[in-house]
Symmetry: C2
Subunit: 115 residues, 2 copies
DNA sequence: CAAATATACATTGACAGGCGAGGTATTGTT
DNA sequence: AACAATACCTCGCCTGTCAATGTATATTTG
């Protein structure tokens, strides 16, 4: 996990919402998915993950319910709400803007902007 | 300035160093340059700017000296060090990595990765 | 059967970066 | 005299991250 977390900071909620777009999921599974997608380069710390869930739920972006596992540890599933989908779309747009902005700001002057 | 500062967080130092690559400069001028480059979309808050200067100087990435203005407000100029140039190169590389990582993590699954 | 490992959730307290609010000083404009 | 622009600086709060710690269940290993 060599990536500075300050560079990911602010994206935690977006990342979680992205993982809920197509199916309900739970903390442990979402984190495993993140590790897989990044070939082990990145993972959310548990404390970060669960505090983000709380923020998202308080903000009305997700709802939660206990799974009815007959065996194994209990799981709290999360579902994205309509509001959450809108928020996600907005976060994605903001990311696209920020990405260009940062690229502009840290480009060595005189550099071609051909991307 | 519609950009969420959490998305820029962690880039402040990189942005400042980028502005010192080709010439020494001072706080006010660097911030004006940032505003120009982003067409007014972004600017550093003064408190953010000056605390970043201090961090960078403590970290040996920049050195500072007072300008010898014969008129107008005094200016503290900053110069990037060799160490600062190396740090900048590293930050740029980390940004490139983080950018791809985040793109991967917030992509809607099933989306083409053609970029 | 005991120990270790994996699954799964949750909280606490500390830390670091960003920033609002406030301050100082000089120069030019109205 | 009042105001705006230039230019610097600091204090204290806020927020997101995370190490450490705790709970509980199931499976694997010796």
């Amino acid at each position: 996990m060599s990536i500075a977390s300050d560079l990911i900071r602010g994206h935690t909620e977006t990342i979680i919402l992205a993982n809920l777009l197509h199916r309900d999921s739970y903390g442990y599974q979402i984190n495993k998915a993140i590790q897989q997608k990044t070939s082990g380069q990145y993972e959310l710390k548990e404390a970060t993950l669960y505090t983000a869930f709380r923020r998202l739920e308080e903000g009305g972006c997700i709802t939660s319910y206990w799974g009815d596992e007959s065996s194994g540890a209990r799981r709290r599933y999360y579902a994205i709400t309509i509001h959450g989908r809108l928020a996600f779309a907005k976060m994605r747009a903001e990311w696209d803007t920020a990405k260009e902005l940062i690229d502009t700001l840290i480009a060595e002057e005189g550099e071609s902007s051909a991307d």
